[in-house]
């Protein structure tokens, strides 16, 4: 289905007035059903989570990512139509490049590869303090190192305290401690800022 038609179809499915069902449509509410289901996670304490992979992408062939983990583990990650891909925005497979870092969650297949449900490309979570504010960028001090945080129009949001996220960044102040979720630009000290959390 072409993309505009597909989006129109999905929109009409959720907004159209068709068959509204209650919560019981999601299956039995009886606890027996839950106890009967096989446990999804069987892990020894201290064992590596088999349904997770992380690393730098060393090669892309078809819909398969080859990667080298931070502990040098080699990973193969399958990306499907149902895989969500985050790279600053929710995005598509063709935006993934060799050299990108990633975290992936999914299901381990018998051949040892991971069928990914979700991939976060180049995502970083920084605790930093704002050293300077310029047009379209924040200078961040992160453990004594300078990190440049680029403000991306239409994307960068700020959360002040526990208030809802807003696009207004004018309450950011030099010297304040912030938490930054963003997308790293590989092999630089620069990130594109998705969300910046500030105390007040």
């Amino acid at each position: 289905m072409p993309q505009p038609d597909r989006r129109r179809f999905l929109t009409s499915a959720v907004l159209g007035g068709s068959a509204v069902a209650g919560a019981t449509a999601l299956g039995s509410l009886a606890p027996e059903a839950a106890f009967a289901a096989p446990p999804k996670i069987k892990l020894d304490p201290g064992a590596l989570d088999p349904n997770f992979a992380e690393g730098r992408i060393t090669g892309i062939s078809g819909s398969l990512l080859r990667a080298s983990g931070s502990d040098r583990t080699l990973h193969r990650v399958h990306v499907t139509d149902g895989t969500s891909i985050w790279k600053l925005h929710p995005t598509t497979f063709d935006q993934i490049k060799v050299g990108d870092g990633f975290y992936a969650r999914g299901v381990r297949l018998p051949d040892g590869s991971l069928a990914a449900d979700a991939i976060w490309v180049n995502i970083v979570n920084l605790d930093a303090s704002i050293a300077a504010i310029e047009a379209a960028r924040l200078h961040l001090d992160h453990n004594g190192k300078r990190v440049i945080g680029h403000v991306v129009g239409g994307r960068t949001a700020a959360v002040y305290g526990s208030a809802p996220a807003v696009a207004d960044l004018t309450r950011l102040q030099v010297g304040r401690h912030v938490k930054v979720i963003g997308a790293w630009r590989p092999d630089t000290n620069e990130v594109d800022v998705a969300t910046v959390y500030s105390g007040a």
């Binding site: 499915a13 907004l15 069902a21 149902g82 895989t83 050293a131 379209a136 004594g144 994307r155 998705a194």
Partner: protein, 275 residues
């Protein structure tokens, strides 16, 4: 009679050493600063605080000698040797322990950068100039304005080269500039995606189907006054797309609707209105 600029250098070098030596000897967190510094890899973790305090004591003694009469050229030479030692220490820290703090003139963790070298270089230059010094009180009395200006300039340069002092003067200046005109003020006020996600995560609809979701957010687009957010879900053994409709300009999580759609069969499996 020596030149007056040389003669006031012991005053500058002495005051600087008084500051840094005092902090090293009497600072409340001197022990912690020592353990964070490159001394840890140079002399070992146990001996670092002792060596740190010893350095501070030497600095204080030298400061006293420089500031108090009588004047010997040897005092300035000793200060120059000490400054050279600091330069060597900074070079060592930069090469052997890049992650360590300078520990020079404040307990605040400060990585070694070009500013640290510039500061040590300034003290070295002042000490070398000071080897040609006469008594500073004579020079200061002879040229009070010129000597004062030179000392203030040197002190300003010292502060400018000190990352530890940034929070005292540089940050307030930047804060003032940001207050006058915030560089990030002229941005559009579109509803950020993060805000829609927060609203979604607090909604009944999301709670109802949350257990079925397999992926993160796959895509989103805006339709007039709703934002559509798509996830992959697993429903009755088949893969489906969970389509959420979130109010775009209002916080009304109770109005969020969700549909589970089988895209391959173009069939709507379930619609919940969240109420």
């Amino acid at each position: 009679m020596a030149e007056w600029p040389a003669s006031v250098q012991p005053l500058f070098v002495g005051a600087t050493l008084l500051w840094s030596g005092g902090l090293k000897c009497a600072g409340l967190s001197a022990g912690r600063a020592a353990r964070r510094s490159a001394l840890r890899s140079l002399v070992g973790e146990e001996r670092a605080p002792a060596v740190y305090r010893l350095t501070g004591a030497v600095e204080l003694l030298l400061a006293a000698a420089l500031l108090a009469p009588p004047v010997y050229a040897g005092e300035a030479v000793a200060a120059a040797v000490l400054a050279t030692g600091f330069l060597a220490y900074l070079a060592y820290a930069r090469i052997a322990a890049p992650g360590s703090s300078c520990g020079c003139m404040s307990a605040r963790p400060t990585p070694v950068t070009w500013r640290g070298f510039a500061r040590a270089g300034l003290i070295l230059a002042a000490a070398l100039l000071g080897t040609r010094a006469g008594p500073w009180w004579d020079a200061a009395a002879g040229h009070p304005w010129a000597a004062g200006t030179l000392l203030v300039g040197e002190a300003a340069a010292l502060v400018a080269f000190s990352p530890e002092a940034d929070r005292r003067w540089l940050y307030p200046l930047r804060r003032l500039r940001v207050r006058l005109r915030h560089p990030l003020a002229d941005r559009s006020f579109d509803m950020p995606l993060e805000s829609s996600l927060q609203q979604l995560h607090g909604s009944t609809a999301y709670r109802q189907v949350g257990g079925l979701l397999r992926s993160g957010l796959r895509e989103s687009w805006d339709e007039e006054d709703v934002r559509v957010l798509c996830y992959t879900a697993e429903y009755e053994g088949r893969l489906a797309t969970a389509v959420f409709a979130v109010p775009l300009r209002h916080y009304r999580p109770e109005e969020i609707r969700v549909a589970l759609v089988d895209e391959s069969a173009a069939a709507t499996l379930l619609v919940l209105d969240g109420a």
